[in-house]
Amino acid sequence: MHLNNKEFIEKFKSRDRETFSRIVEEYSDRLYNLIYKMVLNRDDAKDILQNAFLKAYKAAPSFKGESAVYTYLASIALNEARERFRKERKYIFFDLDIIDSEKEIPDISLEKEKETMKERVNVALGRLPETFRAVLVLKDVDGLTLKEIAEMTHITEGGVKARLHRARMLLKRMLENEK
């Protein structure tokens, strides 16, 4: 049965364990990748993944079915990751004033010469402010549509596009600086 099938969604809403188990199996990898790229820490990402599934299960009866199951889960995971950002503040590297200065992107090349491609991307993502990183991760890492992102983040589609443009420009420059 397809995971966005009406009958499947009804079972999910009634908290059917078998259905939920299938959802966990199906989406763990994708959600983990999304969360990891937001928090850039394995233990935190695993913890957030677990909490997000748990919250989704508890709130399942109120799932309206207007979005796909994955978008619903991703939305919860994103909020969990953001909450972690706010509580710990350890993921925020610099503020928007610095970002707005065209010449002051920190040079992250010196100690990173031998890092793998994955690490290079993670270092660059870690330098993006949370709002830019969220939009970039949702679009370019996870592959959600602009419309889905707008719904999840409560920003207009125009706002998502503007942030995505800025985030991509910043990411490009950071990866360039790093070489």
Partner: protein, 79 residues
């Protein structure tokens, strides 16, 4: 040195990549990219950055996935 046309193109690159512009806009951008080496370079770097992003996936081991799933169901049982 970037001129007005370059700045206009760079500003619209994201929309271009998302197929979110009118046919006329796309044609303008493509024309400029054919003519301007600097903007072509910017476009190519942007594409490469996004490719890296898509490729750099993080994964859980099978054991980690199993533990997480078990934990979730244990917590559900407790509720």
């Amino acid at each position: 040195m970037k001129n007005k046309e370059c700045l206009k193109t760079i500003k619209r690159l994201c929309g271009y990549m998302e197929n979110d512009l009118s046919l006329e806009c796309c044609e303008e951008i493509e024309k400029h990219l054919r003519e301007c080496e600097s903007c072509r370079g910017e476009y190519s770097k942007m594409e490469n950055a996004l490719k890296l992003c898509r490729k750099s996936r993080e994964a859980l081991s099978e054991e980690e996935k199993m533990i997480i799933k078990e934990n979730i169901f244990k917590l559900i049982e407790k509720e």
